[in-house]
């Protein structure tokens, strides 16, 4: 299935853009997507943390993705 990735902060530099479409197995979870991204973009391994959001909420590794869902990569935050 297709998943749309949106990146912020350093994640934009790592994927070299604001958006990216990824093709992943139909039953994939956030954890699977994370594994996929770490393989495709090893620079994510160097970050302090790597979180993901769907529908404007943080989601855990077990969260199951759906076709054409938008997933936001949340690299370590640094507001304030």
């Amino acid at each position: 299935m297709n998943i749309e990735i949106v990146a912020f902060g350093i994640a934009k530099d790592i994927i070299d853009g604001k958006m990216l479409n990824i093709s992943i197995s139909d039953s994939a979870s956030i954890g699977d997507l994370k594994k996929h991204l770490l393989e495709q973009f090893p620079a994510f391994k160097d970050l302090v943390s790597l979180s993901f959001a769907v529908d404007e909420e943080y989601q855990k590794d077990e969260y199951l993705l759906k076709e054409n869902q938008t997933v936001v990569i949340v690299p370590p935050v640094s507001g304030g």
């Binding site: 350093i10 302090v48 959001a53 404007e56 909420e57 936001v72 690299p75 640094s78 507001g79 304030g80």
Partner: protein, 152 residues
């Protein structure tokens, strides 16, 4: 009466005001929002752009936010603050875009009947904001730029 409306970068109730802004923040305006006859203490935290990091000269900071989620996460912090302390009103504004040295990046104003709750609630709010709210800053140096806190 309870007025509530929500947009991309703004959340407002009678006792909560949250905003992500591209224009200058006015701390006084937030203090006026939280001021309340039942309150004897208002604590305001103002975060400004420092001219150096680890002895290295900083030219400016670039902030960006995932705005709808940032508003949601800030709202969660505000709700927790109301549960934990005797807070009457809270206002949080965070700026995005390019900020020069000395400019205000964030202001948090909290009003409480007594000052101790106001200090504790304000400190909790800025500490939690830095941990959970999807806002990022990049330090711009003379010889390069770095996303803050991204690497160990």
């Amino acid at each position: 009466m309870f007025h509530q409306f929500q947009e991309d970068d703004f959340f407002m109730e009678d006792n909560i005001k949250i905003e992500i802004l591209t224009k200058e923040i006015n701390a006084l305006e937030l203090e006026q929002f939280v001021a309340n006859p039942a309150c004897g203490g208002i604590v305001t935290f103002t975060g400004t752009v420092r001219n150096s990091t680890k002895d290295k000269k900083v030219l400016r900071l670039d902030f960006e936010a995932y705005e709808p989620m940032a508003i949601k996460e800030l709202k969660k912090i505000a709700e927790t603050v109301f549960e934990k302390w005797a807070v009457r009103k809270i206002a949080i504004q965070h700026r995005v875009g390019s900020l020069e040295i000395g400019e205000i990046a964030v202001v948090i104003a909290v009003s409480c009947p007594h000052r101790k709750d106001a200090f504790a609630a304000c400190e909790y709010t800025i500490d939690t904001l830095k941990q959970t709210v999807p806002i990022w800053k990049k330090e711009i140096f003379e010889d390069g730029e770095v996303w803050v806190s991204a690497h160990p």
